[in-house]
Amino acid sequence: MNLVQLNLKEAVELVRKGELLAEDLVRAYVKHIESLDNRIKAYLTYNFDRALERAREIDRKPSKGKLAGAVIAVKDNIVTKGLRTTCASRLLENFIPPYDATVVERLEAEDAIIIGKTNLDEFAMGSSTENSAFFPTRNPWDLERVPGGSSGGSAAAVAAYEAMAALGSDTGGSVRQPAAFCGVVGLKPTYGRVSRYGLVAFASSLDQIGPLTRSVEDSALLTMVISGFDRRDATSSSEPVPDYMAKLGERLESKKVGVLAASELKGIEEEVAANYFAVVDKLKELGFEVEEMSFPSWEYALPCYYIIAPSEASSNLARYDGVRYGLRVEANSLAEMYLKTRTVGFGSEVKRRILLGTFALSSGYYEAFYAKAARARQVITREFTAAFEKVDFILTPTTPEPAFKLGEIQDPISMYLQDYFTVSASLAGVPAISIPSGLSSEGLPLGLQVIGRPFMEDKLLNFVFLLEKKLEFKNNISEIIKYQRKEEE
């Protein structure tokens, strides 16, 4: 067996017991990435030399961390000391951060190894990774299709066995949607659960870092390591972090699940709806109490999100002015330098969002747009609070359709509709996870989203751990190996 086929938990156990060298694992990944990534294009920067060096250090350690030998890819909007961090933008093309994000520090403190930085939509704005200023990433299930976004590089890397697991960031669905498109597990933890120190800010009241993995167990293990209070993030929570691994497989205390009525799934692809209701039927067979629910405010969640997120982005991205770091376009005056640097440095989608946000916050429009959206956010949040008084989990499809083709969606609004099922949980700050739930007739992965109560990641993970076993989703390793053979021929 190729070592890259080991899941994170299995590999770490072998390394910790001294039955497998971290160096051998890293070498296996380097070889696999080198033979495959010219087609998938999941990575923007490789970190092979340092990864091998780290592996040798870990192999020499008598006592090894919880993630010893874990080969992890990191989305390129999470800063890594001494390792280029671009946000897939021309503006930061040559930016080498002088510090590590808290999540990176925490991974490395447990002896995980960063293998490289993954592609994304510029500044995490997009749903297909086509907005990367450098190149698009391909979906490992079908190279003609997008991996989703914005954490498309991370999802593709995990699905193509180019990493054991990856970190992504999720503002309106950017971990969950690519996870669904690539047939992997993607968790957006509760807002405040994971420190964002060192995550390049997009929309600060929504951004959250989360893991993309090949199994629920691996998700629990990674989430446990990266979660917890950090004084460097003012929104980080001091809620204690339970042992997520220990809770997996525990008997579920309650079996109440909220599901969407068929009428709520109008307009989405039939296969997606059919797959969703098949899962619901399975839950009933398993003895779950299934309650049909409706969420009248969800219809407004996307417009609400597309006012709030761009507004915050317009403020957060004001820092890119060519003064202290990143791209600078020479000019005769300071004001002209700001203008030229931003005009040359940002791509069209980023410009669209900055302009939209600036408009929504501008004098004369603030009340009708930004303030109205902030009130809508409260309505959406209250709807969740009311729903969680009746049920423990809410199930939805993760996306309205499986992965689409590169270039297929040109209209910005059609692209924004990709986030239909994912934005509500972001606006309310509640945890949500996408797990693979089957394949379409064309052989593309479909995703199921499960939303839980704030800070109840332990229960959420335990529930999807059970579902994962019952759904018996098969990965595509045989296909991946086929690409690789073609490449070698």
Partner: protein
């Protein structure tokens, strides 16, 4: 809805290229119209700006190391001594 895109661009310190101007202006109008449907939602509530209802945490002042000055200055596109250099602020126009 008609948007004064030039004004918004000035506020955002952005310029659109000739190729961007027409498509972005049309897309912006469509997007603003699309998000305007929010007006139909009954919102008799207060505004919510963050998912957490937190009050600012107080903490003792502690002296902690900051990033080394030379490492941070090394990132600047242009510098002079220990300063980041920028083009003229006042152009005498």
């Amino acid at each position: 809805m008609k948007i004064d895109l030039e004004h918004v661009c000035r506020l955002a310190n952005l310029e659109l290229t000739e190729e961007e101007k027409l498509p972005i202006s049309l897309q912006m109008e469509k997007i603003v119209e699309w998000v305007s449907q929010l007006a139909r939602l009954e919102t008799g509530t207060e505004e919510r700006y963050s998912p957490v209802d937190f009050s600012l945490r107080m903490e003792e002042d502690q002296v902690q190391p900051s990033l080394p000055q030379e490492e941070v200055l090394a990132l600047a596109p242009e510098k002079e001594g220990d300063f980041i250099k920028v083009p003229k602020v006042l152009t005498g126009k």
